[in-house]
Subunit: 241 residues, 2 copies
């Protein structure tokens, strides 16, 4: 039952915020009668909503419940003022990401109106081996996840994505040693990702990053990022929750 | 079944991001065995997560699914750059809220580090008759909602909350006529809320607001808000989705 509900909710995406019940059923692999009943119950509970054209959308109540008590949302709330400070200094893209099922999940992103190329989206995912925040998360992940990822083919995302396992292994050691990842051209040729880890109680819980135009040197941004990371870690320590 | 799942998720809040299974069961009004089975299934589907101390949290996967395809999230993404512009001009609190079940639900909030008092929180709620964004949403709501609210007792939230129905009715007419709500002291004595409507396809879909220290005149903020609202409305029109 819960699996079916999740499958229904999974049929919605950034590019598909409204659907007919039959489309939902087809995409979730449910018989039409099951889809109708399930959507009806989800609408009755506010998890889905019907619009004027009888199409179905994700409910505001679902959004509210999923955010209100979530640790991801808390982390984002604590990080945001510091991200705004990074953003006002660097004026490109400032991002916060966490590890979720072998990928980097973007919790927040601030972008300057005239910032350069960047594919990241809030609630979107980036591959661990190709994004600077993913590399930071991977460098500090459970060694079993690291070995599993190093054993599988490493997809080439950008012109300079690290696809050789030995090279990636050396890079992860450097990231742990120097406390930052710098990834030029690993997603897009014209951009460089710069990321640092965020720690809570000693463990890396997230990565804070900026995406710069390739021609910008990363050092100044790195200094701002490190200062912001210390600020967020301080605020996380003083949290009661 | 769906109602039970919703009741489990509802037990989490900003002040309660992690709980034991028995606490969840008790708060959701479920027998212990049902709570254990349900939490187990929700964990298996990533909707909940267990932490190191075997306490339960809302899952990152739930956060991701609830945001990714939601129209609330899309609206927030479109509004954010404009909110950042308001914020850089006003440097207090800038907020985006929508109507959800007789209350104003806050979708986004940017706050200056040294901004004044403000109780709003992202994914938090404000009463329609007491907050400036709530007043804007109420002024443009379905007349049946307005009449229902005017017929019920109006709770005094701040020293100047409008609690007289006839006064509230006149205020709502003015808000529709002048295209803005100005609410000094209606939530907190020291603050004034200033809000304007956001329209999509002619209908008011959200309210954009700032919260100012009481001693600041609202006119300059209002001008900035109106400009931002026009910008957001333009971006909403040019959206394909």
């Amino acid at each position: 039952m819960i699996t079916r509900i999740v499958r229904v909710i999974e049929t919605f995406s950034e590019d598909r915020t409204s659907q007919t019940v039959s489309d939902i059923g087809r995409r979730a692999g449910l018989p039409p009668s099951t889809a109708h009943r399930l959507v009806g119950e989800l609408v009755a509970n506010g998890m889905l909503e019907r619009d004027d054209e009888h199409r179905v959308r994700l409910g505001l109540r679902l959004w509210e419940l999923a955010l209100r008590g979530s640790t991801a949302h808390r982390l984002r709330e604590v990080a945001l003022p510091h991200m705004e400070r990074v953003q006002s200094a660097i004026r490109e893209h400032t991002q916060l990401a966490v590890l979720e099922r072998d990928e980097a999940l973007c919790l927040e992103k601030l972008s300057h109106p005239r910032a350069g190329a960047n594919i990241a989206r809030v609630a979107g995912r980036l591959p661990l081996h190709a994004s600077s925040s993913g590399l930071v998360l991977l460098a500090h992940a459970d060694p079993r996840l690291r070995e599993r990822l190093l054993a599988a083919p490493l997809r080439r995302v950008g012109p300079e994505t690290i696809t050789d396992p030995a090279h990636l292994r050396r890079t992860l050691i450097e990231i742990r040693r120097f406390g930052r990842a710098i990834a030029p051209g690993s997603i897009e040729e014209v951009s460089t990702g710069v990321a640092v880890p965020l720690r809570r109680a000693g463990a890396v819980v997230a990565a804070l990053s900026v995406v710069l135009p390739r021609e910008h040197p990363p050092e100044a941004a790195l200094e701002v990022l490190v200062r912001a990371a210390r600020g967020i870690e301080g605020d996380l320590r003083s949290e009661r929750r």
